[in-house]
């Protein structure tokens, strides 16, 4: 397989998209004070410890940035080193930092970040939506660029393209639907029963389920392509996996809209 040897070089993680890799480490390190504050800060927000949501965002963005830094090796070298891409990565990094400042700052002040309906925070909320779309667009851009990499195994390439593009398309649909509602719940929780770790409601619809699965398309599909590389049926299997995954996201989306919990 043509691309396996360079793809396996771990040092490339830091070199192929240095802004993403460096920011991933930075976002991870700056989560440390939040980890300390989590058990010490007595304040709660929405029935949860106030630092839980910021920590989830730090974790999610570390995973997202690290994944993009990892996948950058599958871009054609010319595109990866091109001016446009470099410039775009800095815009994405700025959006990530702004998003985290907003979420960490809101938690420090004890106010809502998303779904805020008061004053300046309300005014800033739509701007944050634009930033969120900007940072998610990094996966779209990378997916479209990888599509042009003829040196890559076809099944692996298709799985990367579909995973990255679906992450953008499905996440934007789920997140924008969520933003049209007063909160991520569809319905009003009574007991506050939630799934452990993820915190999704067990009583009412929770749009975060579809958002979560949508955003992880870029993790779900490429392993399929990796396993199917070099096989004649590879592209077909990857395509079917993409359809199945999209159906799964759609099912959780419809389920939440209907006001039903995941389980």
């Amino acid at each position: 397989m043509t691309t396996l040897a360079p793809a396996a070089a771990p040092a490339r993680f830091w070199r192929d998209a240095p802004a993403f890799a460096g920011l991933a480490l930075f976002v991870a390190l700056t989560a440390l004070p939040l980890v300390v504050a989590l058990p010490l800060d007595p304040r709660a927000f929405g029935g949860e410890a106030i630092w839980l949501k910021p920590l989830k965002f730090h974790a999610a963005l570390v995973i997202y940035l690290a994944t993009l830094a990892l996948y950058a090796r599958f871009m054609p070298a010319a595109a990866r080193e091109g001016r446009e891409w470099r410039r775009f990565t800095w815009i994405v990094c700025a959006a990530v930092v702004a998003e985290l400042l907003w979420i960490d700052g809101a938690a420090a002040l004890g106010v809502a970040s998303h779904f805020n309906t008061v004053g300046l925070w309300k005014a800033v909320y739509p701007v944050m939506g634009v930033l969120a779309i900007t940072l998610t667009a990094a996966s779209l851009w990378m997916g479209l660029v990888i599509r042009r990499n003829g040196a890559l195994d076809p099944a692996l390439r298709l799985s990367l393209v579909l995973g990255l593009v679906l992450t953008f398309v499905l996440t934007v649909i789920a997140a924008m639907t969520m933003a049209q509602h007063p909160g991520h719940y569809i319905g009003t929780p009574v007991t506050g029963a939630r799934l452990p770790v993820m915190g999704w409601s067990r009583e009412v619809g929770d749009m975060r389920v579809a958002h979560f699965l949508a955003t992880h398309a870029l993790h779900a599909l490429p392993p399929v392509g990796w396993l199917m590389r070099g096989r004649a049926s590879g592209r077909l299997v990857v395509g079917l996996a993409a359809v199945a995954y999209t159906a799964l996201v759609a099912a959780t989306y419809v389920q939440a809209l209907a006001g039903d919990p995941l389980i």
Partner: protein, 140 residues
């Protein structure tokens, strides 16, 4: 001289050092002389004088949090404590600028760390250290 009037003087003095650091790319060596030496040393001399004058008669100490609180109930020692912050925060800010320059970290990335060090000393030091570590990984 009252503690309040000295406090009023100390703010602009420290600010001079911070402004020098913000403008450091224009005159790196001058910025270091101002922010790592002149201003912190003036603050250090004032601090030392305050301690010499007021430490002996003060209540409290470093043994417990309430000891520290009663120490700082004395406005002269409270002022000394404030000068301690100003001097050392600025010194750390100058070190951040110097270190970033030596390690090829762009100044615009250091500016937010400076703002944080200015406002919340150790938090700025922490964020700068995170930045430095992240930058070093991507350069290897």
């Amino acid at each position: 001289m009252t503690p309040d009037s000295l406090f009023q003087l100390s703010g602009p003095l420290a600010m001079l050092g911070w402004l020098a650091l913000l403008a450091a790319p224009l005159a790196p060596r001058l910025a270091q002389v101002v922010a790592a030496q002149v201003v912190p040393l003036v603050l250090a001399v004032a601090y030392a004088a305050l301690i010499l004058m007021h430490w002996a008669g003060a209540e409290g100490g470093f043994g417990s949090l309430s000891d520290v609180a009663s120490l700082f109930a004395n406005p002269w020692l409270l002022l000394a404590g404030w000068l301690h912050y100003l001097a050392f925060d600025l010194f750390v800010g100058a070190w951040e600028v110097r270190t970033a320059r030596a390690e090829g970290i762009p100044h615009w990335q250091v500016v937010p760390c400076l703002a944080l060090t200015f406002l919340f000393g150790p938090a700025g030091f922490f964020v700068f250290s995170a930045l430095r570590l992240s930058a070093a990984r991507t350069k290897g």
